[in-house]
């Protein structure tokens, strides 16, 4: 029986703990400074919007942990000493371990803007961020205006949240279109329109210059870099992405680049120390995957994998086909394989959009072999299993279009757009042929 200590009770750390418990009777301790119990970070927005209460964010009932002999410690790790295999905590006595799993997650990016640490300036990542939002922007009387800096997945969530309480929102987005660094122009501009339909003041190609103090250490306004415009506001949401939360490891001797550097077995430069989830940086990332993957699913996969290794079945992190999903206000988005904002060299694309609705698909494929390499869908659900299979079998784009309805995962009675998609694909093909 080993003593396993896990830093972080997010999806990566908790998945690791659960799977280790499945396979072993190791002693398991999970340390978190953020919350006592594991919660779904992905659902923070729904608490503010009143779709859920805090308790609905907890996927396991509170007695689950004791029942499964997973010991939770609500504390902050101040120092890790991998040589002596010991951790120092802020409140409690230090803890020794046989195996250490670091799953400390991310923190919101801040790029050294003047005023970035003022009151009322926050990201949206932690429970504390949500509490701060609730304090500084409870309604449109206390918060007459909010500015969001950064147009990614968290930025749009924050905008939706604030709009649910009728708080006027301005979004400063660096790109030419919303999330254009990831999405192709077509989808990105469709989202521009949808965002504006929701009465969000979307300012494209605008960067933050500085955040201005009201004299009491709280935000008064922001200054836009390109125009010098001053926007008065009571809350600033900083959402230009996240980066690994590893500051507490500075003196630990662990090798850190952007994140904690790990090999494919999720091992760090010290024996018996592993890093998983958002805070890990792959030495040799697989395929098109970035070295740091701050995604729910990858955190979960790494948790499963590290549990195997710890339970004497050494396993490499070898994620399958890329997939992801999100929701932009009312528009659902799924992606399988790789679709980039521009087709890669030797790749072509096929785009179809419904004439009136916010429904579209975007496929990337290899020009010569016609191999299907990835798909984005908006307002249309696809079956993960089928897409995964087609990607594994290296199906052609023609096959995918021919069999498109068998991948459909929309609720029953939804209109199937396959025919229109196929027609449009044929037209494009004919055009190319001519």
């Amino acid at each position: 029986m080993k003593k396993i200590v896990i830093i972080g009770n997010g999806i990566a750390g908790i998945t690791a703990a659960r799977h280790i418990r499945k396979f072993s009777n190791h002693h398991i301790q999970v340390i978190s400074a953020e919350t006592e119990y594991f919660f779904s970070r992905t659902a923070l927005m729904y608490v503010y919007m009143g779709h859920m209460n805090w308790k609905h964010l907890l996927p396991y009932e509170n007695d689950f942990w004791q029942k499964n002999d997973i010991n939770l410690i609500h504390d902050y790790v101040t120092h890790v000493n991998p040589t002596d295999k010991v951790l120092s905590l802020q409140e409690n006595e230090s803890i020794e371990y046989d195996d250490l799993i670091i799953a400390s997650g991310s923190k919101p990016n801040k790029f050294g803007w003047p005023g970035q640490d003022l009151k009322g300036v926050r990201g949206l990542y932690s429970k504390q961020d949500l509490e701060s939002l609730e304090y500084y922007a409870p309604n449109n009387k206390v918060c007459k205006k909010a500015v969001i800096v950064g147009g990614g997945l968290i930025g749009i969530e924050l905008a939706e949240m604030l709009r649910s309480r009728d708080i006027p929102v301005t979004m400063l987005v660096r790109e030419t279109n919303f999330w254009n660094n990831v999405l192709p122009d077509e989808e990105a501009s469709m989202l521009n329109n949808h965002i504006r339909e929701h009465h969000i003041d979307l300012k494209l190609e605008r960067n933050l210059d500085s955040i201005i103090d009201d004299g009491n250490g709280k935000v008064k306004s922001v200054k836009v870099k390109e125009t010098g415009e001053i926007i008065d506001c009571d809350y600033v949401g900083l959402t230009p992405g996240v980066s690994p939360n590893v500051a507490f490891l500075k003196e630990s001797g662990l090798k850190i680049n952007r994140g904690i550097v790990v090999n494919k077995y999720l091992e760090t430069n010290y024996d018996h120390v592993y890093a998983i989830g958002d805070c890990a940086e792959q030495k040799e990332p697989k395929g098109n995957r970035p070295p740091v993957e701050a995604v729910w699913y990858t955190g979960r996969m790494m948790g499963e994998v590290v549990a195997q290794t710890i339970c004497d079945n050494k396993t490499a992190y070898n994620p399958g086909n890329w997939f992801n999903s999100a929701k932009f206000l009312d528009i659902e988005y799924q992606t399988y394989g790789w679709v980039f904002n521009q087709p890669k060299e030797e790749h072509a694309d096929f785009y179809w959009k419904h004439p009136n609705e916010n429904i579209c698909i975007h496929i990337h494929y290899e020009k010569t072999s016609r191999k299907f390499t990835g798909i984005n869908t908006f307002g249309l659900r696809l079956r993960h299993e089928v897409m995964d299979q087609w990607l594994n079998e290296e199906r052609s784009v023609d096959y995918v279009i021919d069999h498109f309805s068998s991948a459909n995962f929309d609720p029953e009675f939804y209109i199937d757009h396959t025919k229109n998609i196929q027609q449009s694909f044929q037209q494009q093909k004919n055009k190319v042929a001519v």
Binding site: R18, P138, D166, I167, D330, Y414
Partner: protein, 533 residues
Amino acid sequence: MSIDRNLSLTGEAPRALNNEQKGATALGMLGIIIMLLATFNVELQPKWLFLILSLSAIAGGIIWFSKASYAGLSKGIKNDGAFLKPMTSRGVVAYATGIGLTGFYIILYFFPELIGLNENGANTGLISLFDPLSQFLANRPASEWFVYGTLYTVAILFFGIKFMWKYRHNRYQKLRTFSVSFFQLGFAFIIPELMARLNSENFSLPYYDLKNIWPLNYYNFDKYRVDSMIEAGDIGIGLLLFGVASIFIITPILTFRYGKRWYCSWVCGCGGLAETAGDPYRHLSDKSTKAWKIERWLIHVVVVFVTLMTTAVIYSYLGTDTSQYWLTKSSFLLGVAGILTLVFAWVMLFKRDRIQKDAQYGAIGFFVFIIGLISLHFSSGSDQLFLFPAGDLQKAYGFLIGSIFSGVVGTGFYPILGNRVWCRFGCPMAAILGFQQKLFSRFRITTNGGQCISCGNCSTYCEMGIDVRAYAQKGQNIVRSSCVGCGVCSAVCPRGVLKLENDKVKGRINPKDVLLGNDVNLMEYVNSKIKSF
């Protein structure tokens, strides 16, 4: 540092009704005030005009409220503020509404004279306000049940419109709501009233809502009803046979093909009200393990009770002489015992793996049953079940289950306990359909591979209190006896993870922790080593 506390102090914007919603509420209240005035015997003449005014005000109020809530907003999920608005998060106004509804049910069931029912003589008060409509449809004065039926139908139709407006992006939701509205208006309301019109001195059919199936209408095979149906000749016998076929033939076939949703959220009136008027309260259902345990005990006790009781009631009026009629006391008891034994044996032999630990409870239920039948047999003429006369048992059932549970608690407590309390904890029909859904049906909710982010919208908005997320985050399909197939989990999922489907029985349950995305070998390893967690 609690977010819940913070929310209760602040967040005024989503709490407040906008001006149009306030106006709409006032209009609806006006309709109710007219009814209250009628209840207190304020002279409102002509009655038909005031009835139309009252019902129109209620209907108009609901439609206006829906417009004020959803028109002009882009299509999509509209749950903003569900836990912030007092009306939908157990605020004072929700309790007041609950008390009002409960009071209405108590008066309706136990003190109908308070709303104007007079044993001898014409109706007065509220019931008399509905006389013109009843005369028009059935050519007879209204009863308290006619008043209730009218209000019930108005609620389903107009809150149904509200629901369709809310889910206008979702064709499953729209069709399903259209269906329950249709069955309520046609089958529960208009057809039985027209049937009553056919009744004369030498021809009489009992009130029969054709979509109401035993054991939901536990009284269906009572002596007076059976007698009356038999006396009515072919039509009556047809109805009687239809009643028997409904539960033994039609229900199993449809449930096999579509799951119990074909009834619970497409046809049933109780479900219809829950899905329309009750929709704003769906998130209040209790998701704890404790509630789940109570649910399983309660609903199965009810189903055992109703079956025994019905057997006893039918037994009590059957004869003993085989030369007069083939169905006698003894052959009936043997028949019931035979059917139940067959079902029990089939489950134990072929479906044992699906019920696991529950097998022993099933066995207990079965033996209670058989002992009940034996006790009936030896009560020798007094028709007693466990020392209680059959008639008394039915009265007790009617009072406790039929009135208190399904009405007073089931609907009266919508704003407090959620909208499917009756369906989840009490309905014996749901229990029987659920039993079949779990063991013998093509229906399942498919989980979409690894896309679940454990956000919990599905579990929160499950009116039956199923922890959908617990399955979805493991990549498991959801096959639960209590699922009524409303499809809201699938609708509220932000990642497109859930889909209600009828598909092959094979592969319906995938008890493995499927993929969550790492390479296949690992998953094989997991599955070979682990049964469940």
